[in-house]
Symmetry: C2
Subunit: 398 residues, 2 copies
C-alpha cells in the first residue's frame, strides 16, 4: 500500500458510533422502525427556527446572487464578523471586534485550525483533553502532528481531577481543550472548576516560559438545563480560543458554519490570528459557506426550540434512575452518560442491542465502563424504549 | 513568537492578488469606481442559473428542515453521489459509482485531501506542478508536509515541456497536478500533450516501483471557447484523481461545494479512497454543505450563462493583440496571460497601476515576465479599460 497509513487507518476504521448507526438501519429493516431505539447519533432533532429558514429564502430572493454566492474574505465577511462580535460582546460583556473572529466550516474546522496554528510538531507538543472527550479531538490533534494526552475525570461528578491534571501537564503541553457543556457527559464545568483550572495554567505558563492555550469548544453553550451560568472562558484566562458552531443551537450540522475566536487579550494575539489564517490556507479552507454567513448574521441570538431536549432529558434521567441506573449530572448538551451495568461497556452495549437499545460505549471517549445515550430523538421513541431499559436493568439484577 | 511559523507566514503574507484587490478599493475611493480597471480577482461575474436559485428555495420550502440541514455521511449523501456519478458517466462514458466520489467543500479541499491521502512526508515525497500554476498548490502541498516541484512550460504555447518534465521526475514524485483549462494561462492541454504525459508517467511508475498519482484540478472544465475536447484524464491514466468544483460552472465560489473522484481503475483504489476519507477527518472536514449537495444534485449539467466570458475574451484578446501585446492562447477559463512589456512583471504591474489597470504579476504562478488578466468582469469595464491598455503599450514603444 502506497498511501499515507495514518490517513488510511482513520478512513477505514469506522467509529463505534457509525457502526452502531449502520447496525440500527439493518435492525430496523428486520424488526420495524418503531422497535429499534437508536440513541447513537448527535443530530439535532429540533428544526431550525422558522425565521432562519425565512432568512435563507429572503437572501435568495432579494440579494444580488453574484454577491450572495461570491467568495467572502478568507476570515469571513467583515459585516458578518462585526455582527457576531457585537452579539458576543452584548452577551458576555467582552470587547471583541471583527478582527478577533475567523469564520469556519463548523467547530471541527475551528478546532483544527487553532491547533494547527499554535502546535509545533517538531517540539513534540501536546494537546491535553479531559475525559470523557469528543473522540475526534484525537484525530484533529494527530492530524496536526501533535500528541493527545487524556486526563481522567473525577468519577463522582465528572469535574476536573486536578491532581491528575497537574500530573499530566509538562513543558510540551501547548493546548488544553475544555468542552462544557460536555459531549458525552452532559456535565457543565462549574465556575470553581474553571477558576482553578486557569490558575494552574497561568502558573505553568510561568514555569515553562511559554503560553498554554485554552481552547473552549462550545457547540452546546445554549443547551443548558440548570440555572448555572456557563463561564465564558476569555474572562478567566487570556490565552483563550473559543470554538463555536451553529450546528446545535440552530440545528444546522450539515451546513458547516461556526467560528474560531482569538481573544484580543491573548499574548501576541495578532500573530496567533495570522497563524489561524495561515492554517486555513494550508488545510484547504477558502471561506465558510457565504449564504450561511449572511443568514446567521440576521438571526444572532435565536435558537431552535430546545425545550424538547429538556423533556427528553427529564424523562430519561428520571426513568433510568428509577430502574437503578447511575448517570452523570446532565446539565447541558443532549447526552446522558450512564454507568454500564457491567465493567465492560462494550459487552454492556452488546447486551443492550438484544433489547434493540443502541448505546455508545464510552471507551473511545476515554471513559471505559460508561455508555453515551444521545437523546436528541423523538420523545415518543424514548417512551417506547423505557421498557427495554427496564428489562436490561433487570437482567443485571437491578 | 510561540506559534507555528509556517502557518504564521502563510497567514501574514498577503497574496499579490489580495494586495492588488485592496489597492483597488482605495484607488476607487480616490478616482471613482468607473476609473479603476480591476482585473485581479477570479470571482465569477455571471449569476448562477435561475433554476439553481429556485432549487435552493424549493428545498427550503418543501424538504423536512431537520433532514435538509442534518449531517450527511462524511463522503456526502449517497443519493447525491449516485446522481453525480451517473452524470459523469453519461458525459464521459466512464463507469463510476457513488463509491468513487468524496464530496468536499470545494476543489481546494478536494486537492488537499487527495495530497494528504497519498503523500508520505517521512519519505520527502514531492508534488509536481506545471507552470504557470495556481499559487495555492504550493500552500496545500507544504501544508501536507510535501515539497512542490515546478516544471516550466514551453513558452511558445504553454503546453508541457517534456524535457523539463522528465528532468524533474524522480523516485520521490508522488503526485502530478494538471490544471486544464489553466489558471492563470487559459490554455487547454491538447490530447497529444495528455497522451504523452501519461505514457511518461506509466514508464516512471514501472521504473520507480510505486504509483504516481495524476491529479486533474478542473474547476474550469465547462468554460471552454475552442471546439477542442478537454480530455477526461481517467480515460488516459488509471491512477487519476479528478478534483472538481461547482464554483465557476454554477458561480458559487463562496458556498464551497465540489468533489474528489478516486478512479475505480486506480491501483488499490479502495484503500486510496479510505485514505481520502481519513484525510477528511484529520483536517476537520465533516461533510460538504448539505443544502448545496441536494441543490446541485437537482441541477447537474446546468451552468451559469458563460457567454459573457467569451465576449470578454474576444474583446480583450483582439484589442490587446492590436495594441502590440502578446498573449497565451486563451481557449478556456476566464484568464488572459499576457507577456509583460518589460522583463520584470512586478515593475510592469506597477506601471499599469498608473493607468488604474490592476494586473497580477506572474511570478507567484511560476512565470516571471507575464501578467494575469482576469476577465470575469463586466464587458463595460473592459471597454472602458481599453484606452488605458493602449496608453500603457505606447509607453513601451508599441
Amino acid at each position: 500500500m502506497y498511501v499515507n497509513e495514518q490517513m488510511h487507518h482513520l478512513g477505514s476504521n469506522r467509529s463505534v458510533i457509525r457502526e452502531l448507526f449502520e447496525y440500527g438501519k439493518i435492525q430496523r429493516a428486520k424488526v420495524g422502525d418503531d422497535n429499534v431505539y437508536d440513541f447513537s447519533i448527535g443530530n439535532p432533532s429540533s428544526p431550525p427556527p422558522k425565521a432562519f429558514q425565512q432568512a435563507l429564502i429572503d437572501l435568495l430572493q432579494t440579494m444580488d446572487p453574484i454577491s450572495l454566492h461570491a467568495y467572502t474574505s478568507a476570515q469571513g465577511d467583515l459585516s458578518v464578523r462585526r455582527a457576531i462580535a457585537e452579539h458576543i460582546n452584548g452577551r458576555f460583556g467582552t470587547a471583541f471586534t471583527a478582527d478577533n473572529l475567523y469564520l469556519t466550516s463548523g467547530a471541527a474546522a475551528a478546532i483544527t485550525l487553532c491547533i494547527k496554528a499554535v502546535l509545533l510538531p517538531e517540539k513534540n507538543e501536546e494537546v491535553l483533553v479531559f475525559a470523557p472527550y469528543f473522540t475526534e479531538y484525537r484525530t484533529f490533534t494527530e492530524g496536526c502532528g501533535g500528541k493527545l494526552v487524556v486526563v481522567p475525570p473525577k468519577m463522582d461528578d465528572f469535574q476536573i481531577d486536578f491532581l491528575a491534571f497537574e500530573a499530566a501537564l509538562n513543558p510540551r503541553t501547548k493546548v488544553v481543550i475544555v468542552n462544557s457543556p460536555n459531549n458525552p457527559s452532559g456535565v457543565i464545568y462549574s465556575e470553581e472548576t474553571i477558576v482553578r483550572l486557569c490558575d494552574i495554567l497561568r502558573q505553568k505558563e510561568k514555569e515553562y516560559g511559554h503560553p498554554i492555550y485554552l481552547l473552549s469548544d462550545e457547540p452546546y453553550r445554549e443547551i443548558v438545563y440548570s440555572d448555572a451560568e456557563v463561564p465564558y472562558l476569555t474572562k478567566y484566562y487570556k490565552n483563550t480560543f473559543v470554538c463555536y458552531s451553529y450546528s446545535k443551537s440552530l440545528s444546522l450540522p450539515g451546513e458547516r458554519f461556526g467560528y474560531a475566536l482569538v481573544s484580543g487579550e491573548m499574548e501576541d494575539w495578532q500573530n496567533v490570528y495570522y497563524a489561524v489564517c495561515g492554517a486555513g490556507r494550508a488545510l484547504g479552507y477558502i471561506c465558510a459557506p457565504s449564504l450561511f454567513q449572511y443568514a446567521v448574521a440576521r438571526c444572532l441570538g435565536m435558537t431552535s426550540d430546545l425545550s424538547s431536549y429538556r423533556v427528553n432529558r427529564d424523562l430519561l434521567l428520571d426513568s433510568l434512575t428509577a430502574y437503578g441506573y447511575h448517570c452523570a449530572t446532565p446539565d447541558g448538551a443532549f447526552y446522558l452518560f450512564v454507568e454500564a451495568l457491567e465493567k465492560d461497556a462494550n459487552a454492556f452495549s452488546e447486551q443492550a442491542k438484544k433489547h434493540n437499545l443502541l448505546l455508545v460505549p464510552g471507551d473511545d471517549f476515554g471513559c471505559p465502563g460508561w455508555v453515551r445515550v444521545s437523546y436528541c430523538v423523538s420523545t415518543d421513541m424514548i417512551r417506547r424504549s423505557l421498557s427495554a431499559f427496564q428489562a436490561l436493568a433487570k437482567e443485571y439484577g437491578k
